[in-house]
Amino acid sequence: MPIPDRGGPLSGVRVLELTKVWAGPYAGKMLAHLGAEVIKLESATNLDEMRAYGGVDINSAPYFLSINQEILSVQVNMKTDEGLDLVRSMVAESDIVIDNIRPGAMERSQLDYENLRKVKPDIIHVSIKMWGTDGPLGYQTGYAPCFASLSGLTALVGHEGETPKGMNIRYGDSTAGACAALAAIAALHHRERTGEGQFIDLSAVETMTSLVGDSLFAYSVTGEIPRPDGNFHPEMCPHGAYPCADGEWVSIAVADDAEWQALCRVLNASALANDPRFATLKRRLANRHALDRAIGDRTFGETAADLADRLRQAGVPAFRSQSSIDLCSDDHLWTRESFRMVTDHRNGSRPIIGPSWRMKPDQAMIERGAPLLGEHNDYVYKEILGLPQERLDDLIARKIVD
């Protein structure tokens, strides 16, 4: 069965992924959402853990369904030589290979870049590891909060004066995947111009480090070590999240005196507007803890969304701090199709989180949810590799395709 052309800017680009959990699959998802044909190599005896979490049915595991839309699934047992030969045949028909499996595992299977380029001289191979593929700490593995801690990012995030707790424990994997996708497409441009492929060695720790790049660079320039600083901003005040009714919060960022006066008007706080402690940015910064308390006292009875709306109308940048239930019921996100429906084998359809971009013209179609295990065996083995049905049946019978 041929795969329908979904259009999009990466239409015609084929990606193989040997990925698990989140960072690697997220890279594959981004490329698929841009129109690439992304084929995930899977095996019943070596499953992506995301097919197991939170459910008994590997074909309807919520974690897996939440990431792998428009991905194709092919089964192959990479613990067999014959299976590895099939993988090499697929590499020969691909543009990009993405992996995020354990350090050393690609080498042990002779699927490292040097071996891949023997099969496909201009292949682009992106490898995502916590610390990259080699080096003194390259053997270490870890979880997202570990690489955020190692990266320098966690050290900057915390309430003032407290132990830096970092971003939410989930932060890190997806951004590493996004950077892997970015570097892969940069390499595709080089290949198109010169015919040369390459190996891209991505460190998830360094991805997090690059997200605090200006802070680290400022340290190099000034010698001042940046600290966890709550919501402090050296050039805006007030700048923070302020308590509202029902446990809600509103974010407010005031850059100049006009915005400050507008904030005071909306809060009916002429006493603050006229308070010499808060008259200029410099004074507001010097007295910011008192200022934050004074503002919090006045936002406390307000409904966050209403207050934010009035502040924006008055020219003060403000927005409600959104919880998971706020996001799930956000009209703007649904209307803009940030949340959209795809097909789903179990229920017919499932909402997903669509890409952060819209394109005109020729946006890639995103219509199919995550694949069943091996859903695209026929397509990969018969149409791409040209194997006859009897050969595929034999591979299945001998569990080379499992």
Partner: protein, 385 residues
């Protein structure tokens, strides 16, 4: 050799999101011409400063060129059109009203330059209400949910946090914008045609939590107003040690046994089941563990104890600071930090990129440009030269 050699990108962006997207492409080797207003880009006025120069500007504009154009003036706007006529892509991050006023909206650019890849980054995407357009990074990260849920385990009385530094959501948006521009330039190579790319910063935030938030959207898990709705449970968190902080993450019996051995098997560990992390990980046990562990780890030094932990399979790591990173042997091995001589700062250390590319390594070839340093690329007489 650089990956994007031969591509010409014009940057009219004036916020960190767009400047970072263009920096990513410039660092890959594209020719990026930054269009600055008379007096210079707003980021030139962001601190910290040394010898009169902004460190933020210096960081965001490596490998770029600078020209000065007053886009309110018809002659300069026409000069921009001349640049766009020979460019591959345009990166902008102004709101729709500004775009309409300067003939740089999607309809205007797609008509005048149909071959161009045109990317606009805005807080909520094209078509959002006008009053929403002026949103700052703290508003974006709050609108997108990460602030409400950070740090993990934050109690209801503490404010949501803006994230690391001032610009975290801008960097995330810059990555998606750069990826889309490169994908679209791939299409341009095949077809000769341009494309319009509309990036929503809030949607970048939402997309980064897909495997947690989508399960709520689909009804697999209940969404809620809980500050802990994205959390995983378990004892993982940061702890103070003698010379800073460490982070520990544990989920298995092997992790626990490794840690007990590392601590010298103190008596209190025997009050926990050896498989407590998997089968008895109650809030009470987590609290009890943290009390005992805090008392022990506070006497340890972060580097020796985390190295010892790694050797016994315990995922305990130092919470590295800005001062630690340039000394870290793995960062040194990978060459992540690059020493560069900056005209105002002297020898300084630039963080580079997380991807080491075998054929086209990313390098900082030139420091951020002086204002209008490349006005000659405009050709002819420039009013501001």
């Amino acid at each position: 050799m650089s990956a994007l050699k031969g591509l010409l990108i014009i940057e009219t962006a004036e916020r960190v999101a767009g400047e970072y997207a263009a920096k990513l492409l410039a660092d890959f080797g594209a020719e990026v011409i930054k269009v600055e207003r008379p007096g210079g880009a707003p980021t030139r006025r962001m601190g910290p400063f040394k010898n009169g120069e902004s460190a933020v500007f210096a960081y965001l504009n490596t490998n770029k060129k600078s020209v000065v154009l007053d886009l309110d003036q018809p002659e300069d706007r026409a000069r921009l059109d001349q640049l766009l006529a020979r460019a591959n892509a345009l990166i902008d991050d102004h709101d729709e009203t500004w775009g309409e006023a300067h003939a740089l909206s999607y309809p205007a650019v797609s008509t005048s330059h149909p071959q161009l890849v045109h990317c606009i980054i805005t807080a909520f995407g094209q078509g959002a209400p006008q009053a929403w357009q002026r949103a700052r990074p703290i508003n974006v990260i709050n609108a997108g949910g990460w602030a409400y849920h950070s740090p993990s385990e934050t109690t209801a009385d503490k404010p949501p946090l803006k994230g690391a530094g001032r610009f975290l959501p801008d960097y995330e948006s810059g990555i998606d914008a750069a990826l889309c521009v490169l994908a679209s330039l791939h299409r341009q190579r095949q077809t000769g045609q341009g494309q319009f790319i509309d990036i929503s910063e809030v949607e970048v935030q939402v997309n980064r939590i897909d495997c947690v938030l989508d399960r709520m959207l689909a009804g697999d898990v209940e969404p809620s107003a809980e500050r802990t709705a994205y959390d995983m449970g378990g004892p993982g968190t940061s702890f103070a040690c003698r010379d800073g902080h460490i982070y520990i993450f544990m989920t298995t019996k092997a992790h626990w046994q490794g840690l007990c051995g590392l601590m010298g098997d103190p008596d209190w560990t025997k009050t926990f089941r050896e498989d407590w992390l998997e089968f008895d990980c109650t809030r009470e046990n987590v609290t009890r563990f943290r009390q005992h562990f805090s008392d022990w780890i506070v006497g340890q030094e972060k580097i020796p104890i985390t190295e010892a932990a790694q050797k016994v399979g315990v995922a305990m790591v130092p919470v590295n600071t800005a001062a630690d990173l340039p000394l870290n042997e793995q960062f040194i091995h990978r060459g992540f930090f690059q020493q560069v001589e900056h005209p105002a700062f002297g020898a300084v250390t630039y963080p580079t990129v997380s991807y080491r590319m075998s054929a086209t390594p990313v390098r900082i070839e030139t420091t951020a440009p002086a204002l209008g340093a490349d006005n000659e690329v405009l050709g002819g007489v420039n009013a501001h030269s």
